[in-house]
């Protein structure tokens, strides 16, 4: 029954979007972390997604999505001139994270929309299955 597979497929989407939301939360939480070296500055992380066929599906036709771990944002951390900061280096600079909060917020909206769409798909599949169960009952 392919409708059952809809649950297996969309479930992977929910899991992937949740990991994406987790990364976004982590990025926003660390947006203001300062460091005395450019290497030590916090770097934003982005999720890597890949399409795959779920082994649980008997007749795999719809592809699920797999979260393949985070990748670092390669942009250079922002150097801020702040000699009074206890973490400032010899030249008086501190290095801020390269997290762009606006970008993260729009990412968050995209992730939550994708999550909602997946839930919606699941709900519709559930309704169809419930109607199928009552087939032939008067």
């Amino acid at each position: 029954m392919s409708l059952m597979n809809v649950f297996d497929v969309t479930k992977t989407g929910l899991v992937a979007q949740t990991s994406r939301l987790n990364l976004i939360a982590e990025n926003i939480a660390n947006a203001d972390v300062e460091s005395s070296t450019p290497e030590g500055a916090y770097r934003a992380q982005y999720p890597m997604f890949r399409a795959f066929f779920n082994e649980e599906q008997i007749s795999a036709q719809g592809q699920g999505v797999r979260y393949e771990g985070p990748v670092d944002d390669t942009r250079a951390p922002r150097a801020l001139f702040d000699p009074g900061n206890p973490k400032a280096n010899a030249e008086g600079y501190v290095f801020m994270s390269n997290v762009n909060t606006v970008e993260e917020m729009s990412n968050m909206m995209s992730a939550s929309r994708s999550y909602q769409t997946n839930v919606e798909v699941m709900n519709t599949a559930k309704q169809l299955l419930m109607r199928t169960l009552t087939l032939g009952q008067v």
Binding site: M1, S2, L128, T132, G136
Partner: protein
């Protein structure tokens, strides 16, 4: 074809094909954020006609085998052409997919409705009230 099959008039085939299509479209929606993912779909009409003609040709013994392998025999999956190409090579357009999924769900319910009427008609005929 036995009389029950002919009475149900292909609606059962339509139902299984619709549920298969819903799985494919659900996969597309799930992969809306996957780079380089290509949106796929089946041509319902040609797939439906294939199945119906395949069922008529086969005799009863092979028909059961055909049915059991029905899901596994991968149907003609085609690529959907997007209106706008995304930068990351993803061809899923959420709106298109959602529309297709909803349409497919409604058509599934239509098949269910038809089947229900058929079944209650058969019941009435069997009771002979």
């Amino acid at each position: 074809m036995n009389w029950v099959d002919s009475a149900l008039n292909g609606h059962a085939t339509a139902l299984s094909l619709r549920s298969q299509r819903s799985e494919i479209i659900a996969g597309n929606i799930t992969n809306a954020d996957t780079p380089n993912f290509k949106s796929r779909d089946i041509d319902f009409r040609s797939e439906f006609e294939n199945r119906l003609s395949g069922m008529q040709q086969l005799d009863t013994t092979t028909k059961s085998q055909f049915r059991s392998s029905e899901g596994a025999s991968s149907s003609n999956l085609m690529y959907r052409v997007p209106y706008v190409m995304a930068e990351d090579g993803n061809t899923v357009e959420a709106e298109t997919e959602q529309a297709a999924y909803t349409k497919n769900a409604i058509q599934y319910q239509v098949s269910i409705q038809f089947l229900s009427s058929k079944i209650s008609g058969l019941k009435l005929a069997l009771k002979g009230e």
